[in-house]
Amino acid sequence: MDNQVNILIFQGNPADAKLIKRHLAKEGLAFASKVAENKDAFLAILDKFVPDILLADYSAPDFDAFAAMAEIRKRFEDIPVIIISGTGGEECAIECLRAGATDYVLKDRLGRLTHSITRALQEYEHLKAKKKANKVLRESEAKFRIVSEHTYDWEFWLDPDGNYLYCSPSCERITGHTAEEFQADASLRARLVHPDDRKRYESHLIEFEAHQAIHEAEWRVLRPDGTYRWVAHVCQPVFDETGRFLGIRGSNRDITERKAAEEALHESEERQRIALEAAELGTFDFNLKTQVLEWDEETKRMCGIPGGENPRYDQAINFIHPDDRKSLEAMLGKSFDPSSDGSYEAEFRIVRPDGSVFWNRAKGRVYFEGEGTDRKAVRQLGVNQDITARKQSEEMLRRQQAEIQGLLENTPAGLVLFEAVPPYKVLAHNRYYQELFAEPFRSKGMVGLNIYEYAPAVEAEGIVAVFDEVVRTKQPKSFLDFPYKSDPPKQTFFNWHLSPLIIDGQVVALVSMSLDVTDRHLAEEALQKAYVELEKRIDERTAQLNKATLLAKAERQQFYDVLETLPVYVCLLTTDYRIPFANRVFHEWFGYHPDKKCYEFLFNLSQPCEGCETFTVLKSNAPHRWEWAGPNGRDYDIFDFPFIDTDGSPLILEMGIDITERKQAEKSIKELNETLEQRIAQRTAELQASENRLKRSQEVASLGSWELDLRENVLTWSDEVYRIFGLRSREYGASYKAFLERVHPEDREAVDDAYSRSIRDGKDAYEIEHRIVRKDNGEVRVVHEKCDHFRDPATGRIIRSVGMVQDITERKQMEEELRRSRDELEFRVRERTAELSAAVVMLEQMNLELQEFAHVTSHDLQEPLRKIQTFCDMIKTRSSSGLDSDGLRYLDKVLNSVRRMREILDALMHLSRLSETPLKFKAVDLGKIAQEAVDLFEDELKKSGGTVKIDDMPVIDAEETQMLRLFQNLIGNAFKFCGEKDPHIQISCKQDRKTCEIYIKDNGIGFEQEFAERIFKPFQRLHGRSEYDGAGIGLAICRKIVERHVGTIRAESEPGKGSTFIIRLPLKRKG
């Protein structure tokens, strides 16, 4: 309240007003006052003056105190009004107070006025404050209500008794119950609390009660649908200005979503922790301010210090593998840079204290504080993970992938992955596949294209059909030697494999592998051709060699003829005592039985003869000479020579000279000598020696002997020696010098050396073969010398040398001749072979040219012929009206001729083509083929009522299509030439180990056997065209086919009795 009271005085009598003012001043009341004497003045003052109190005159004439009171209270509500009246009376006072006056003071008791004013003003102040407080409360409540009505949270206000003063409509959204329900039931709110949260709810109430201050708690409330929602509850007591408790204001916020998020977060944190554990992640925390590094247990375990102390930062660096340290420190350095975001990730090796190493993957982050230049790193946090296994498997995987990739890329086969649905797009393929194609695919590849887009249309159809099948059956499919023209016009062949890629029973892709086998394919064909050629040549060569062998035999015969004429017997002996050859003399002397053993037919023995020396030469392998008494009682000088026959078997050549007469002469000389011995006793020894000499020297007609008496130094030659050397007997004295003169100059040294060496080396004998030059005619002869030394039994010194000289020129020549003739023979065989080979090559060339000619001719002739036919046709169909009946007939004849000529050319072309195409051999079941061929004549068979019988047939190596053609032609012929009869055809076969012989027998018209060869020649007909149609080339084709299969074909027939065609084929292809 102001110190000064503003008083408005309404007083009709100004003196009374002065009196009241004086009175109040006297009382010591500080006041300002305005006085109004009438109604107008009163209203005017009210416009300018704000009074605290009105003192109104009860009895003003025009405007009484009640009116003034009503007027002032219009403007200042509740302003205190004290009515001052001159007249007293209780009734008046009651009237005033009833009318609303604050007090009633009599004029004559103004002493009470100051007190009355003071009290009135106090009451007024109080009322004013109360009114103001009420107004504020009202406004606050309204504001609360307005806010609460629109707030999202559930707000309520409880009066001090716990009843709802207000409940915001949001409650329905949160709890499912309306505000009215809450207001009607004060306990509903508590009942909705979740049983698990009730304890918390109650402790909240107790807390709140005890402190009477704002309090928060969270719990769940039940909704009518049975679900719960989380609410965050806040409540606070409300007091008025005077501290009076006005109730509780509460607010509930729906935090279900936040709770769920919290739970999710919690779960995620939990999961992260579990993941951290599961991933064997270790953590580290480095505080840069304190320089403390903390490793968790996992990190310590990883680094090989389980349960150990945290290392210092500089110690920790030592765990890093030296090779990785530099790069890691560089990276860490970067992450410590305040301008960076501080994160880093590194893979490096850690060396444990025990020396073992593992790969670590560290992911960390550096945290900074401060801004600008003050910004600096304060902390480094991160995780470690042992990725050794991953590193290893990564490395392995990388290597495997590289290997597989490399393998796939470098595989010399086209690999493609196709989509498993039409149109089968290419998902991937290797480089090889790409290179199979022409541009633009070669450079760009085919990924994303389908097969229609890059393969030739016609082949794509076939390939897609295969794709369809593989997808449908889920089974892989393979094609060998699949022809394909990816890079036209090059013909290629592939071994093609297409497999489905099946995952969970579904075909998810198709894997195609194409292996280029063109070279192999072509090589096989070429090889095949080469085989056939080789076969042919071998056969030819064999024939030539046979011929050459015959020649050789003839020449050997000549040699034998020479032997026949010799006056000695000559025979050949085999080791089993047979005589495959003996000359005429032998035949004459002993007879000849080549199938008997020698002792059987010569001596009629069952054992080899005792004392036969012939076969010793096989052991010594040297010529041997001995005497033999023949079965005819005569003596023979025998020469045996071992030699090897052309086939390598050992043979003995024996030569026998009849020496019976000589023997007898010897005998008589011996007898004569004996007489002489008796008569000339002193010369006995000499004679004896001479006899011996003679005996030896005359053992063979061509054997000379000599004797050197070393004691006497006398050399003696037999007469034969003189003859051999071409010296007239006794013309020269025998001397070593004369002997050496006769030795061929080139052999002289060797001969001299042989003799002197035998003496020097103490040998008892020596042999030598050398040439001599005959004195009489200068002829060069070959001699064989053999020398024996005789020693003094007492001293061992050589006292005598006895030698034989045998002229072996003829024998040598014979041997030489034999060898030469064999060489010659061989040479001629070789020469002939070469000549024939050249001839074969030439013939092949000519054949090729001929084939080419036949092909070109037949092909080129077809052209104009076709046109003749077409234009004749046009004449017939379009211009026939211009022709008379003759013209039409001629035209038909032209057409007929053209048709025939075309048939001939067709057949000719077919024949020439037969030789061109290489054969593809495979196992062919001839029974099947024969049946197939027969089936082609079903109509003829039905029409004629004939039969075809097929016996068991073999499976042979052959070209299938050609075999079919062969049977077709032969069966066709049988049908064609059946005459008036029903055709009955029999197909049978005989076979041995290597070949089979097929018989196709009919009961047709047959032919003369003399034509059997002619019918296989092209265009050879045995019948007029009017009788039997055809180009006359069917059998020629048959022969060609059979010959290409290295077989033969012939025919046997008799007119009217049917024909049989006999085909001989090898079962297996040679080579």
């Binding site: 022409a438 022809p483 077409t870 046709d873 046009m874």
Partner: protein, 137 residues
Amino acid sequence: MTTETQKSILMADDDEEDCFLATEAFMESGGKAAFSCVTDGVKLMEYLSARSAPGPNGLPDLILLDLNMPIKNGREALLEIKSNPFFTSIPVVVLTTSAEKKDIEFSIGAGANLFITKPSAFNDWIEMMRSIVMRWL
């Protein structure tokens, strides 16, 4: 329909009689297209190169191609047509005297749409043309 554009057939064959026969047979078969002939592979490629779009005075709707022609034979021409993106979609019928497997394999492999050996009887020519017209025009 009158608004339909005129179709055209181009025959490449050095044999004048065959060109004549083909034209006659085409008329007889009731074909409505323009029928032109060139006599070798070079002329064929020139004809095609001078035109860039199908339609009247444009690319032909069908090519009848003989394999054996002077200067540039049908094989080379076929390969060129099928490797040229502008011409590759034109159907090519190889019409030749050959019936050899290697020619058939080559033609189909090089992208020919059909391989026909020239018929002898004129009626066969007409039949052939009728099927060709039905199939491609």
